[in-house]
Symmetry: C2
Subunit: 353 residues, 2 copies
């Protein structure tokens, strides 16, 4: 059965991808077909002289295994930023895409670069996504869940309402931080039921591989085929040999993944409680960071603004992040480190406040 | 002095790139600003938990050193295919780009995806680029030198004529194979004189790192700034930590580079002579491959077509490449392997012919 292209952007439907030379699995062949060097490089593994598997089949199989889907429903790329950039080309270029007013600030950049009209819908007063606002739209949707930089989780039932209300548009759920959210928050199981749902995830957060650049998307074969078309129109080999191997091994090591994730969650919950004790207003986070507003001045004392605290923490060797943007310019985003680092942060804040 | 954007595409002039969190060089800081995991990954180096240097400064310095330019004139990416894709967005999107009718077949794909009109100019009867054809154009230019799949080298004086005749348009010279060409063929020294010249190179060929995905561009600060703008609108971190490190080390190891390159050149010249002895018509190659047309039938015997030979070599475990395209469908492209592999190829051809 041919793959449906109904959900593809018009430009992608028209592309004829580049066809790279064959990369056979059989290593007994004399391979004189892709202009590789026959000699080992001066540094690194000797096999680096050969192109990587362009389909990253082993990596996609490892991702599929831990995600409970078949490998045909997985697309892997050079970080989930690359996967999302390809998805904007594949599904939103030449059309419209809706997103919350406060979310990952890369979304409007991709929309602008790849010719999509970017339309924002305000979060409510508690910084929550209102699913009702996303049910009668005339364009695609992208939502980060947990959202960034708020850390708030949209319940799966609301995700499903949005996906099911937009059968003719692609809905992307960017789950970079999902492994720190309550069990059952991921939309991956819904991808089998809804061909318009694309879920993206990353090895940069829960898998501790930000330095390796591996991310992926899970969705219907039609959506995955569109991402492969974009990839083969941009760069045939996006993930290097080392990254494919190290990411596969890391993703499959479930005990380490669970232990590290649990430690981060414990430190996050401790940090949230401590910040609240100090008078911060802290959003409930399902991510590996918290979003917190410093206490208001009391008894006539001068309070400290978020940007002042950012600067004063920096002077003490602690880096956190601040966004000088409407609605969130009184907040600080604090990544969760080790419990020792979080204790150092709380001590520094106690002194500063 | 502000950087000139005269040579940038209109779309790129209008972009506001994403700003990633700071990646400080000082490792004594408590780094809670980019949502990294504080624990080591299950596989690979512990430092992989941290994002790589987004500017790949060490790698750019290594490239600059061996290229005789300053690091500000270097842009590194995830393979030269990614660098070229970014260059099509930066300089050709929304405009026109001229290229030879026979060249790297990824060029028309990037043009189509990123909205550039792709106009071809025929190579002459000897498969040479005629510089005179490129002196009065109304768009950008991209030339592979040595060209692919012909392997033919355009003399530097002709490259300079084309670059100097098009001061208001970007001319890209794709030098993926330049290290196998005669000394003095590279246009890198011209980048200092001509702000409209961008030269791209790769670690995949002469440096034996096809599996690692590292390529780069050398040009004026304006052109490099445009590529950085595109990168920061697509993916802030394109080259992973391992790749930055291994590529820097490999590029700096000049003795290995020279020895491997010389061995490939010797095997290429031997293969060219042997193929000619067997009656092949072989183009003079400055690359790590040869482009050869099988001998015509003699004395009433049936000759073998290029596609027949491709198939029969494959049955003997030797992979080469064939392009079923106008003007070159009687040719075979043969990558240069070890001298033993090339002897095996010649023996197989002797038996088949």
């Amino acid at each position: 059965m041919p793959i449906s292209t109904e959900l593809w952007s018009e430009r992608i439907k028209a592309q004829k991808p580049y066809i790279a030379g064959e990369q056979p699995k059989n290593s007994n062949l004399i391979k004189l077909n892709t202009n590789e060097n026959p000699y080992a490089p001066a540094a690194g593994d000797a096999l680096l002289r050969l192109y990587p598997d362009p389909d990253a089949a082993g990596l996609c199989a490892a991702i599929a295994e831990v995600s409970g889907v078949t490998p045909e429903r997985v697309f892997a790329g050079n970080g989930s930023d690359e996967v999302l950039a390809f998805a904007f080309i594949a599904f939103f270029g030449g059309g419209k895409v809706y997103a919350p007013d406060i979310t990952y600030s890369f979304y409007p950049v991709w929309a602008s670069l790849f010719g999509a009209e970017y339309i924002t819908i305000p979060l409510d007063a508690h910084f929550d996504i209102c699913a009702d606002d996303y049910l009668t739209l005339d364009g695609g949707v992208i939502l980060a869940n947990p959202n960034a930089p708020t850390g708030k989780v949209l319940p799966l039932r609301d995700v499903e309402r949005i996906v099911s209300a937009n059968p003719d548009r692609v809905v992307i759920i960017d789950e970079a931080y999902i492994d720190f959210a309550p069990d059952g928050s991921s939309a991956v199981p819904l991808t089998v039921k809804y061909p318009n749902l694309l879920v993206t995830q990353t090895a940069s957060k829960a898998y501790s591989l930000a330095g390796l650049r591996v991310g992926w998307a899970i969705g219907s074969e039609s959506l995955i085929a569109a991402l492969n078309t974009v990839k083969n129109c941009v760069n045939s080999y996006t993930i290097d040999r080392n990254a494919q191997e190290t990411a596969s091994e890391t993703i499959s090591a479930r005990a380490v993944f669970r232990r590290n994730t649990e430690r981060v969650i414990r430190a996050r919950d401790w940090t949230t409680a401590e910040l609240r004790r100090l008078g911060f207003s802290v959003l409930d986070s399902g991510a590996n960071f918290v979003f917190a507003k410093p206490p208001a001045p009391i008894h006539g004392e001068a309070g400290k603004s978020a940007s002042e605290l950012l600067q004063q923490l920096r002077e003490r060797g602690i880096l956190i992040r601040y966004f000088n943007l409407p609605r969130i310019d009184e907040y600080l985003r604090i990544s969760i480190g080790t419990s020792e680092q979080m204790k150092a942060l709380i001590s520094a804040l106690e002194e500063l406040l």
